[in-house]
Symmetry: C2
Subunit: 331 residues, 2 copies
Amino acid sequence: MTNHQVRLAARPVGLPKRSDWQFTQEAVPEPKDGELVVQVQYISLDPAMRGWMNDAKSYIRPVGIGEVMRAGAAGKVVKSRHEKFREGDIVTGGFGVQEFALSDGKGVNKVDTRLVKLPTYLGTLGMPGLTAYFGLLDIGKPQPGQTVVVSGAAGAVGSVVGQIARIKGCRTVGLAGGADKCRLLVEEFGFDAAIDYKREDVKAALRQHCPDGIDVYFDNVGADHLDAALVMLNDHGRVAMCGAIATYNATEPPVGPSNLGLVVSKRLTLRGFIIVDHQDRLADMVADVSAWLREGKIAHAETIVDGLDRAPGAFIDLLRGANTGKMLVRL
Amino acid sequence: MTNHQVRLAARPVGLPKRSDWQFTQEAVPEPKDGELVVQVQYISLDPAMRGWMNDAKSYIRPVGIGEVMRAGAAGKVVKSRHEKFREGDIVTGGFGVQEFALSDGKGVNKVDTRLVKLPTYLGTLGMPGLTAYFGLLDIGKPQPGQTVVVSGAAGAVGSVVGQIARIKGCRTVGLAGGADKCRLLVEEFGFDAAIDYKREDVKAALRQHCPDGIDVYFDNVGADHLDAALVMLNDHGRVAMCGAIATYNATEPPVGPSNLGLVVSKRLTLRGFIIVDHQDRLADMVADVSAWLREGKIAHAETIVDGLDRAPGAFIDLLRGANTGKMLVRL
């Protein structure tokens, strides 16, 4: 049995290219006592992975050159010498971009695929769902009737942010790139309005679609989207800073918002967060979001590509914004 | 009896000039029922006044052209038809840049000058003190042993921030312009270190003086000081955004921090505040700060100029950073 793997080959400069990874193969490992082996079925591709490829101090150590590319994933336990897992268990965990993963069980969770399909555990019921849930509710604290704006709104996190905000009685406005994504936001995800940042002037469009200003801005993009949102935020507005995908491939320091003085005069709160810190909210998220999924109140989209060999290209597409909803590789 | 006044004559472009105000005089007004007249003894000059001179939507309406320049002040009640005030009462309030003020009593507070001198009620025991107290303790939440950095550290707010932080058991580092101010920070206000931003590389100096990073950054300055602090802030650091004096006279949009992505990866919280929102903390501040003043734990500095005619020049000096501690005009 052979384990095909994708390993980091070089530190990318700007947008990664395929040659920044290499394909390798080795024998499927044998578990020792306290270990298990998972056959990976779905690999989660996430913008945060771009940061892990840099040799820079951050909230998590970089992926080393020659190491299997780090990624969340889901699959089936095929061998277990771990007391908590049995062969046949369906699990999620940080299994990396490979076909088989050896694990000590840390961060591995069993999931029930009778009610919810496996990919959903990597998206709406997984880290992206928790990111949306925590960032919107705990940082954004939206009240009924308030206006919530989210950037990267057609992505795995943004689409859930908008839908939870709508469930909480808010006006929801999404920023996304392209007419297809914007149509999806309104027709599938129930946003009140969508702004195509590739075609529209974001400041003017926010003014048009947020007649009562913005109370909560959930930022996945950074850069000029944040600048535009600051102008429209109401007094005491909250900004959940989740990511800044617009700057992840920057080779020059990005230009910061020119209007940060508004943070003082409008008494804004900008709070950055990394979802690994907030696993204590996982049970609440799963309870609420499962119910909303069951009741049909939350729709979810996935962009699935097949085959390990397509993982690098799919990740590059993700950074280019080619996906809608959760980007996954199916093995 | 004549009331000499300083009125706004023109909206400043960049740094204000004397001709942006005009001197006028009129008869001292007579109070009607429910009103009082105060003879002003000290006028508070504050960086926020620069914002009030712009014709821009903000947290408070602009001063109108031809109106008496808005300012906090302290003085003696000389006539009263208000049930709460008697002739001879010593009071603080928003009396403006003039010799006599007619007031309906709103926002007017009696003060006791037997224990604390009158100017202190406009500084360490006044709005600057409350600004320091609330911003540091309620937003910054410093813990003993943590490192607190404050910009504009020789000013009315910054000097109190550093001293309260020291009382709370923190390492304190102040940013100020000039060797004299920096000496004052260390020798008079007890800062652990002072950085002269006019002479030193702020990033390098912060690295040197904050060996354990920064836990709380109290920002009065904005611009490159904020940029440098973001680099050195520890995970879960807090930024109390009080002001951005470096940008108040900008005629072009200022360049924002290029490293705002650190807010996400370090899970920082940036919170802007305006002290008028937090009057509920006034009693706590007065109790604590009075005690610290009595015990000699807090020193305070004032820069006092004499005469109403010097008010415009003193305000321009304040914006240039010529003062140490609270800038006051004595009549």
